[in-house]
């Protein structure tokens, strides 16, 4: 266990946001879960008492006589926000005093740094480059992410859970979000920061980042494993596999929706459902492809002259 190496990575000024991100993320998930849990309990309680449900209740607390029905933004919200602003200011000031901008030597085109890492917020994208063509990881995926985020209001047919934390009422939305954020984004940033060393090789935390490390690793295309040699064959084979994934996956999503979320499903139009289904499958495809590469050294599944997946 190379503690010095680990400390070097953790203490690098560049990595401070990511080191901070991990506990913060845990804390806020915990906080949100706690709130959601309380709300869910309240909702359950109120559902048994229709009279009570009609009063102005305050999220986790049922309404009590003598309480104000409505509270003003000023001072009751702003005083908390202002407190938060002060605390954030303190944190930013202390941060800026203690850690200077991590400037390095002048860029030298003859000698690029190794590992060359993107800014922390782009490390997830950079990590994706390992598994996909630059065109797919760099252009198609980010575009899909943005479109996917834009499309959420239009495919979200669940009217509940707006303006308060809840888990029971928005199970699908929350778990999909956590999957996309934690698994697809944060974990890839963490891999990019802590795991990827010189040569973008995989170093477990605490392993020395040896610049001279040599590893033997051969990645093969899935069609090659099946002995398909012709280009046309490869393209058709890939199309079948990928098409099969979407067909099977689509059927799975359809049956799960019908079984576990019949209400939501019934509220959705065909267009809304198929868009939801497509994005969901694409999201799941990403970690699947990563696993294929990391565990079985499979480079591409679908090879065509224009793109590889």
């Amino acid at each position: 266990m190379d503690w010095r190496q680990l400390w070097e990575i953790i203490s690098a000024p560049d990595n401070v946001p990511i080191v901070g991100l991990i506990p913060l993320l845990a804390f806020y998930i915990y906080l949100a879960w706690k709130q959601a849990h309380a709300n869910d309990q309240l909702v359950a309680q109120l559902e048994t008492d229709p009279a009570m449900a009609k009063t102005h209740h305050r999220k986790t607390w049922p309404f009590k006589p003598g309480w104000q029905k409505e509270v003003h933004v000023w001072p009751f919200l702003l005083r908390i926000e202002f407190l938060a602003a002060i605390i954030v200011t303190i944190i930013l000031m202390v941060w800026s005093i203690t850690l200077n901008a991590p400037l390095e030597e002048p860029a030298n085109p003859n000698l690029t740094m190794n590992p060359a890492k993107a800014p922390w917020y782009f490390l997830g994208l950079q990590e994706m480059l390992v598994y996909f063509d630059p065109w797919i990881a760099g252009v198609v995926m980010p575009t899909l992410i943005i479109i996917g985020l834009m499309v959420i209001p239009y495919i979200d047919t669940n009217p509940k859970g707006s303006g308060y934390y809840t888990w029971k009422q928005r199970r699908f939305a929350i778990s999909t979000f956590l999957f996309g954020f934690i698994i697809l984004w944060v974990s890839m940033i963490i891999i990019g920061t802590f795991i990827r060393g010189p040569g973008w090789q995989w170093f477990w935390p605490g392993q020395t980042w040896d610049h001279n490390r040599l590893i033997y690793e051969v990645n093969r295309d899935l069609p090659d494993i099946f002995g398909i040699t012709s280009n046309l064959g490869k393209a058709i084979f890939g199309l079948v596999i990928v098409g099969g994934y979407f067909a099977l996956g689509g059927f799975l999503v359809y049956s799960l929706f019908r079984r576990y979320m019949p209400k939501d499903f019934s509220r959705m139009s065909l267009l809304q459902f198929s868009i939801t289904q497509a994005f969901l499958l694409i999201m799941v495809a990403l970690p699947l492809k990563m696993l294929l590469r990391l565990l079985w050294h499979i480079k591409y599944v679908w090879i065509t002259p224009w793109f590889n997946i």
Binding site: I86, I90, M93, L111, D210, H211
Partner: protein, 1092 residues
């Protein structure tokens, strides 16, 4: 999670955040204060330095002032000072009445001017404003109306109230006039005051100058100035900004004492009562070498171009010194700071300062002497082969061009014959003629290239011996033993240890043996070892070679230690080598790439003769390499002497040559190919001449800019981590002892660490690696000492591509360039083994025990402090090419025949001769070309007088100076006067005879022969009556006489002095049995001094 009971009062409304706010605001304020402190002090640590500097420097100056005052008192006690002081007082007294009067008048005028000025400037401002309005207003009518206003304003009168109470009314013109006239008056009075005070100021300056010139330290006034400066210092960044070189250095923000005119040491800048100097004290010291700052003015050079570090950074010591990962040019450490010199002075073998003990000079010298450039290219080192190659290329191009021209010209002639018009024919004809002229130019150029090649072939040297002669020279069985570990056989040898396996050793020795020349050598008679020993110890061999091991070792380290030479060398070859090391067995033709033998000469029916005069290849007419590529010169010994020395050297052994294990495998032809592979692999041909490998390239990496290689490009192999964490990978105690600062204690992941470890144990970066024989690092272990590793590291650290503009780098084009080039030759041939070029530089001989004896001191080779001023450059060229100054009788010194040490014949090429002559001229600031001074012909009376001086018993010149008379010259200790005319410069001789000690300290030439009386040099001894009334310099007379001296005249004078030499002769001959004669010169020097 347990549910909390629901509170009765509304928590959102009732909950108080006062405590939260209180804590948050306190924290915020604290952070704010922290930020302010950080801004003012935390990020500006230099402020603290400046505060402390003020205190400590003021205290220092205070104590310096009292010391200075005391020494000033001493100076003031002198009569000269009193006289000057009196002068001042008198002048002041004389001037004071008039001065006081004038000062009073000026004072009155001043107050008058002030009162007028107040009114005048006010009115003038108004006038100017109106004028501007007129100039800029657009309509004619408004112009006119303002004009009118202006006129009426100017006509108005204003009242001026003078200090004496009187009032006067003036209009604008009058006011202007009054003001100007008052000012004129004042200027006149001031000038008068200046005139009156002139004698006073003059005597005051004289007094101040006297004090300043007679005090070693600063005067109290000067210290007062410094005190004032410190007092006025307010904290601010002290910055040197040189836009043209992109230098911004803020080093002096903390290092405030660097340029102070006093010597500041850490101790003197420590706080009162402090035991050890703290960081402040260390930072405040003055520059240890202020002379360097004189040459490299900080206002032009800044600090970082020499010292490196981050000149702009001011936030912390680490940042400013560049000691962090991302600054590529960290401050050079104390041990290697001279690396900074190399960045601009890479072309200087000797830094111009004329000082010895420079680490960087040592590094440069080691790089060359140890043969580093045999494997590593380095700009400027060993450039002959490269130039030769480019010349060969040029020859080829020119020859093709010539052929083309010939063809073209023939074709044009043909065309001209068939031309339709006369004009056309003439034009073509002219072109053809032009081409033929061009060809003749090419021929001329080719000839020049041939001359140059000839020079280059002569200049080209190898560090190691010629291995083509291995069979003729060496004890066969000794070779494998030597290859195993050369330093075992001969500690300190230039031959490094290559870590060869036994199989490699066998193969390499087989190749060397089988590829060697098999010519036979003339058989030599055995000599007299005892005589050989004497010759070896006195002829100057020890200036380069050493003999004896350990404490017994004596001699120079420039060439091999000969302690065990008897075990390896062949007698016949050794005799030839000592007689003339440059003599080759066979000449080498670079064009055919082979050694030329008698058969080639016989084919062309030419005699088998090759030397510098016969250097054309019989086969193709190109230049041949006719010399051994060694710097070892010829001492012009007779064959018998060479035999004696060789016989003596062969007695130098620890075991019999026959005791070496039999190595008959060296004749195995199967090993030869294998051996060739390894010889090539290890780049042996970089240092040795080896058959079949004359044109081998260098095997190592180029090092010209090694110091600026990114650290990532230096291969620490498995030790990157260890280096960063300061672990020491070297375990071999022998190699560990080579590290200049001992085993690593802290991170050595930097250039310095890399170079030091590489030099201490070159194979270190192979440690732990699995590599095949051919992949392993090839760099051999040079068995360097600590200081040598440090010197070479310094050299490499400084090997950087300078970021400074070209005019900052030392690339002079004037005589300084001659000096630059000269030092390369001086160190190449180890001239410094015998001669001294500047005071303080000790030659090898001068340090030897033998020459400490006063008798032997006389036998030291001459000092060359002012050689360029002394000798005629044309003569010098002749002397250097043949120091015997004689074509037939060469077994002698041309000038100082009395010296046992022999000035060798180096066979300098024309190019090197030119460089050396220019070097000596430039070193003494002598112009080139030299135009000899005309020496006036003396009248017979003058000759008579001069002869009287020349033969005066108070200074009998011919007593020590050689005359050509064999009996006399046996105990002469100075050169023959007959040489003077051709050899010396008259003005130098004049300086020499007046004060030889100033030119060559320790010379036996007596001082005080002449004294200066009434601005004339007069002979100190008794002069004959003919000198009555002679008012010219006696020195000049003597010099003119010497320059007109004829052999007959000298003989006559010598004969007349015969008595004095005869009386001393027997005594001296007796002494010379034990060593060279003790010259009477020192005695006569003493007597001359006494007669003063």
């Amino acid at each position: 999670m347990p549910d909390k009971p629901v509170p009765d009062s509304d928590p959102i409304v009732s909950k108080s955040y006062a405590a939260h706010y209180a804590i948050a605001v306190i924290l915020l304020m604290a952070t704010l204060l922290w930020a302010l402190w950080d801004e003012a002090f935390g990020m500006r640590p230099w402020k603290a330095y400046q505060h402390v500097w003020k205190d400590r420097y003021t205290a220092f100056l205070l104590s310096a002032r009292s010391k200075s005052a005391a020494s000033q008192k001493e100076v003031e006690g002198s009569s000269d000072y009193q006289k000057l002081k009196q002068n001042l007082e008198e002048a002041t007294q004389q001037a004071s009445p008039h001065m006081r009067e004038l000062q009073k008048q000026i004072g009155d005028l001043n107050s008058k001017i002030l009162s007028v000025q107040a009114v005048f400037t006010d009115r003038r401002a108004y006038v100017n404003a109106l004028t501007y309005q007129i100039e800029t207003s657009t309509s004619q009518s408004s112009k006119q109306s303002i004009q009118r206003d202006l006129a009426s304003y100017k006509a108005q009168t204003a009242t001026v109230e003078y200090p004496d109470g009187s009032r006067q009314k003036y209009n604008f013109e009058q006011l202007e006039e009054a003001y100007n006239s008052l000012k004129d008056q004042r200027a006149k009075l001031n000038a008068e005051l200046g005139d009156t005070l002139k004698p006073v100021t003059q005597s005051k300056t004289a007094l101040d100058d006297y004090v300043a010139n007679h005090m070693i330290d600063l005067t109290p006034t000067q210290i007062g100035g410094l005190e004032k400066k410190v007092d006025e210092l307010s904290p601010s960044i002290q910055q040197i900004n040189v836009a043209e070189a992109n230098i911004v250095d803020r080093c002096e923000s903390c290092h405030l004492g660097i340029r102070e005119p006093v010597k500041l040491t850490p101790a003197s800048m420590s706080a009162k009562g402090a035991k050890a100097p703290d960081d402040y004290a260390k930072a405040f010291v003055s520059h240890p070498n202020p002379d360097l700052l004189q040459i490299h003015d900080p206002e032009k050079f800044g600090c970082s171009p020499c010292h490196q570090g981050n000149g702009r950074a001011t936030t912390s010591i680490e940042k400013a010194h560049g000691n962090y990962e991302h600054w590529l040019w960290p401050l050079y450490t104390k041990q290697n700071f001279e690396a900074g010199c190399q960045t601009c002075h890479a072309a200087d073998m000797m830094l111009i300062s004329g000082e010895v003990g420079w680490t960087i000079s040592k590094g440069k010298d080691l790089f060359r002497q140890r043969g580093c450039m045999g494997c590593h290219r380095y700009e400027g080192y060993d450039k002959e082969p490269e130039e030769l190659q480019s010349l060969n290329q040029q020859i080829k191009t020119l020859e093709t061009e010539r052929l083309d021209n010939t063809k073209q010209s023939a074709y044009m002639m043909k065309q001209a014959d068939a031309a339709e018009s006369n004009d056309e024919a003439n034009r073509l004809n002219d072109q053809a003629v032009g081409l033929r002229v061009a060809n003749s130019r090419i021929d001329g150029r080719l000839q020049q290239i041939d001359f140059r090649s000839h020079s280059l072939m002569q200049d080209m040297k190898k560090v190691g011996p010629n291995l083509k002669d291995a069979r003729l020279k060496l004890n066969k069985n000794w070779i494998p033993v030597w290859l195993k570990k050369p330093s075992e056989f001969r500690p300190g040898t230039k031959m490094p240890n290559f870590r060869l396996t036994d199989a490699q050793i066998q193969a390499i020795s087989a190749y060397i043996w089988q590829s060697g020349l098999t010519d036979s050598l003339p058989h030599q008679k055995p000599g007299n070892a005892e005589h050989g020993k004497e010759l070896f110890e006195t002829r100057g061999c020890l200036a380069c070679h050493s003999i004896g091991e350990g404490d017994d070792q004596q001699g120079g380290t420039f060439a091999a230690n000969l302690t065990r030479v008897g075990e390896k060398a062949n007698y016949d070859y050794l005799v030839r080598w000592i007689h003339n090391a440059r003599e080759r067995t066979r000449p080498y033709c670079p064009y055919e790439k082979k050694d030329i033998g008698p058969e080639d000469y016989a084919k062309k029916k030419l005699p088998y003769v090759f030397d510098l005069g016969h250097s054309k290849c019989p086969n193709d007419g190109h230049e041949l390499q006719v010399q051994n590529m060694t710097v070892m010169p010829s001492l012009r010994l007779s064959v018998e002497d060479a035999q004696d020395i060789a016989t003596y050297l062969l007695t130098q052994k620890k075991q019999e040559p026959s005791a070496y294990a039999d190595a008959s495998y060296m004749d195995d032809p199967k090993l030869k190919e294998e051996g060739k592979k390894w010889v090539r692999h290890y780049g042996c041909a970089g240092c040795h001449e080896i058959a079949g490998m004359e044109e081998e390239g260098r095997i190592g990496t180029e090092l010209t800019f090694e110091g600026s290689k990114p650290i990532e490009r230096l291969d620490f192999a498995l030790f990157t981590e260890s280096a960063q964490r300061g672990k020491e990978p070297i375990t071999n105690p022998e190699d560990l002892a080579r590290l200049p600062e001992g085993p690593a204690k802290e991170s050595w992941y930097d250039h310095k660490g890399f170079f030091e470890h590489k030099l201490a144990e070159p194979e270190i970066y192979d440690k732990g690696m699995i590599k095949s024989e051919t992949e392993a690092l090839r760099m051999p272990n040079l068995h360097l000492a600590k200081d040598q590793v440090q010197a070479l590291t310094t050299f490499l650290l400084g090997s950087q591509e300078s970021s400074l503009p070209a005019n900052y780098q030392y690339k002079p084009q004037d005589t300084r360039r001659d000096i630059q080039e000269g030092w390369w030759l001086v160190t190449k041939y180890n001239c410094v083994g015998c001669h001294q070029f500047f005071p303080g530089q000790d030659s090898v001989l001068i340090k030897m025990k033998k020459y400490q004896d006063p008798d032997w001191k006389e036998q030291l080779p001459p000092k060359l402090y002012t050689e360029g001023a002394r000798v005629n450059p044309e003569w010098l060229r002749r002397f250097l090419s043949n120091p015997a100054l004689n074509d037939t009788d060469t077994n002698r010194n041309g000038v100082r025949n009395y010296l046992k040490v022999r000035m060798p014949t180096f066979s300098f090429s024309d190019d090197e001769l030119r460089k050396l002559v220019r070097f000596f001229q430039a070193l003494s600031q002598q112009p080139i070309p030299y135009i000899p001074e005309q020496v006036p012909t003396l009248t017979s009376k003058e000759t008579e007088m001069a002869r009287a001086l020349f033969s005066s018993t108070a200074a009998p010149c011919l007593k020590c100076h050689a005359t050509g008379d064999v009996q006399h010259d046996a105990h002469a200790t100075a050169p023959n006067f007959l040489l003077a005319k051709e050899r010396l410069k008259p003005d130098w001789v004049e300086r020499w005879i007046t004060d030889p000690q100033a030119i060559s300290p320790g010379t036996s030439m007596p001082s005080g022969l002449f004294t200066k009386i009434n601005d004339h040099w007069v002979f100190a001894g008794p002069t004959p009556p003919s000198f009555q009334g002679y008012d010219q310099d006696h020195t000049k007379l003597l010099v003119d006489y010497i320059f007109q001296l004829t052999p007959e005249e000298q003989k006559r004078v010598a004969a007349s002095m015969g008595r004095s030499t005869a009386s001393n002769a027997p005594q001296r001959t007796k002494k010379s049995v034990t060593g060279p004669s003790r010259p009477p010169a020192s005695k006569s020097g003493a007597s001359a001094g006494g007669s003063r």
